[in-house]
């Protein structure tokens, strides 16, 4: 440590150039980043406040009953959220039930097993898929999934309806199942690319530790790599869930838009995001409009609850011995 040298460095300051001073401007950087961070909070508060204020007529008219009423009749001024909550949750659950195992499996293949060249090509495709606008997926669903469900999957599943009531009834092609399938396709790339990154970030030593104890390649992947990457994998799942819950366009195009709760997945349904998009511009009465906005608030709360649940889950798993 030569003190005089370091003093010399700090004394070389006064060049007088404003821009140069700005570059080293700690307080300015602090202020700018603080503002950026504060704006996040501001937007959130503003959002909730707006949703709350705009929906007050509906809150006054229905109270909490809004949540469990299943009647939605704009002509009779009767509004209930249950069919939409149901449709939103069921389509999202269906989507994740398909995309999570497939996506995690694909991520394991890409990060652990595939040749580097193949892995690079596939990863590029996955990233491309994640960037496709949802209306394109909607079109894809209309042209391929709808006929597929109507003519092939639906009739086949209907045969099992003796055992599974949720596949009973005629299949029109449009319905909850089709919406769930297209959501699965849309969330699939998210699960893959985030899980893959989490898996790649696992240090080599973890795999080697398992192998050196006599584990097979698969045992090392399953027992060492995946547990180490589990936070990232969970993250990919929750991001996909958020996308599925809020997806509007593609779902609206194939779900059938019928506010009914039917046990059959082949029947049409409705989601919160879809009904808002469909009815907002045509809503005539104040109460109708307020009810739609209240639905928006409900969707917002659902995502918040699910995210909080995710945090708790992560906290719980980290406590009993995780990597990070």
């Amino acid at each position: 440590m030569s003190a005089p040298a370091s003093i010399g460095v700090t004394e070389r300051k006064p060049d007088g150039l404003f821009l140069q001073r700005l570059k080293g401007g700690d307080p300015i950087a602090h202020a700018i980043t603080w503002l950026a961070a504060a704006s996040v909070l501001l937007v959130t508060v503003w959002l909730v406040a707006q949703l709350w204020m705009q929906s007050t007529p509906a809150i006054h008219a229905f109270g909490f009953g809004f949540l469990w009423s299943s009647e939605w009749d704009p002509n009779a001024e009767k509004f209930g959220a249950l069919p939409f909550i149901y449709g939103t949750l069921v389509t999202s659950a269906l989507a994740l039930a398909i995309s999570v195992p497939l996506g995690v499996g694909a991520a394991i293949f890409l990060s652990e097993l595939a040749q580097p060249g193949l892995s690079a090509v596939l990863t590029f495709l996955v990233e491309l898929l994640a960037a496709v606008p949802s209306v394109i997926f909607g079109l894809l669903a209309i042209f391929t999934l709808v006929p597929l469900v109507r003519d092939v999957i639906g009739p086949a599943l209907d045969k099992t309806s003796g055992v599974f009531p949720f596949f009973a009834g005629p299949s029109y092609g449009v319905g909850v199942l089709t919406a769930g399938l297209i959501l699965a396709v849309m969330t699939f790339p998210f699960v893959i690319s985030i899980s893959r990154e989490a898996l790649l970030a696992v240090p080599r030593e973890q795999r080697e530790a398992a192998l050196a104890l006599g584990a097979t390649k698969w045992e090392a992947t399953w027992d060492a790599i995946i547990p180490f990457a589990r936070l990232g994998i969970l993250g990919s799942i929750f991001l996909s869930l958020a996308r599925a819950l809020g997806e509007t366009m593609a779902v609206t195009m194939v779900i059938g838009n019928d506010p009914k709760i039917t046990p059959s997945l082949l029947a049409p349904g409705y989601t919160i995001a879809s009904v808002i998009a469909n009815e907002f511009t045509e809503a005539t009465s104040n109460l109708h409009l307020a009810s739609l906005i209240l639905l928006g608030l409900v969707l917002f709360l659902i995502t918040i609850i699910i995210n909080a649940g995710a945090r708790l889950l992560i906290l719980a798993t980290t406590r009993q011995g995780s990597a990070t």
Binding site: P116, P203, E205, Q206, R207, E208, A209, A210, L211, A212, L213, G214, A215, T216, E219, D223, A224, P227, F228, R319, Q320, G321, S322, A323
Partner: protein, 279 residues
């Protein structure tokens, strides 16, 4: 001690290494547990090892020393074939475990018999208990819960960690200090009862007290297995090992009894290295 150029090129193992009649005291020869012959190793096009031949004796501790990047880790990672998992890596030559070519042994069996402790502690993100139990479970070595618990306790005792963790076996391994984690990794390796234990700079991240504990441990383990330890610490090599091999730029320059290497090395490079003139 012959230091003719030929002896250096052909083989690095001098005849004097084997106990001889003139030794007087040591009459029976230690058995050769692990024998490597003519090892050339490549990372892609880069050759990291050149014609390395060495023998490791049963119930002896062999230290491998040499400057950073000379191929010590690369070499011992061939002994349990963990290098095979590196893409583009290639190993030539022959390695025999108890006279049997390791390529002919099922690789999971080989790795159970030849345990390894890595340079940086690498516990699994699991509890202390599960870390030690892992190898036992996958290899099906313990029948029932009682037997598993006993094995875990025995291994933790052998690694001199039991007293510190016995009340918190179900806590995360990440809650332990670096030195404790390294002893946990040793316990984990010991739990599957290896015949050979490879240690790659096990003390490089540890303080002198933790290092001392691990060195004591090596002495007690010696009775049960053959130990190969890579170390940068000359004093450590001198203290714990019976034999020492000196690596330089991918070659085994000299291999002999530790006393000989440290007092009367045959090669100029060895002498320079151990006296700290380079490296």
């Amino acid at each position: 001690m012959s230091s003719t150029p030929e002896s250096r090129v052909k083989t690095a193992i001098p005849a004097q290494i084997l106990p001889q009649a003139s030794d007087g005291v040591q009459t029976d020869l230690p058995a050769v547990k692990l024998k490597a012959t003519g090892i050339n190793f490549f990372y892609g096009a880069f050759q990291a090892l050149f014609d390395v031949s060495i023998e490791f004796f049963e119930n002896r501790i062999t230290a491998l020393i040499g400057p950073s990047g000379c191929g010590k880790s690369t070499f011992i990672r061939n002994l349990n074939r963990i290098n095979e998992t590196i893409r583009g890596a290639r190993c030539e030559g022959e390695i025999l475990l108890d006279g049997e070519n390791i390529l002919g042994i099922d690789v999971t069996q080989l790795r159970r018999r030849v345990g390894m402790v890595f340079q940086r502690p690498n516990p699994f993100p699991k509890s202390i208990f599960d870390n030690v139990a892992y190898g036992v479970k996958i290899n099906g070595l313990a029948r029932g819960k009682r037997a598993l618990e006993e094995t875990v306790e025995k291994s933790l005792r052998r690694a001199a960690l039991w007293d510190e963790v016995k009340d918190q076996l179900h806590k995360s391994a990440y809650a332990l200090s670096g030195g404790q984690q390294q002893r946990l990794c040793i316990a984990r390796a010991l739990a599957v009862d290896p015949q050979v234990l490879l240690l790659d700079e096990p003390c490089s991240a540890l303080d002198p007290i933790a290092t001392g504990k691990i060195e004591d441990l090596l002495f007690t383990l010696k009775d049960q297995c053959t130990i190969v330890i890579v170390t940068h610490n000359m004093q450590q090599a001198g203290r714990v090992s019976d034999y020492t091999g000196f690596f330089l730029l991918g070659r085994l320059i000299e291999f002999n009894k530790t006393g000989v290497i440290f007092r009367t090395p045959a090669q100029k490079e060895t002498e320079d290295y151990i006296t700290g003139r380079f490296g």
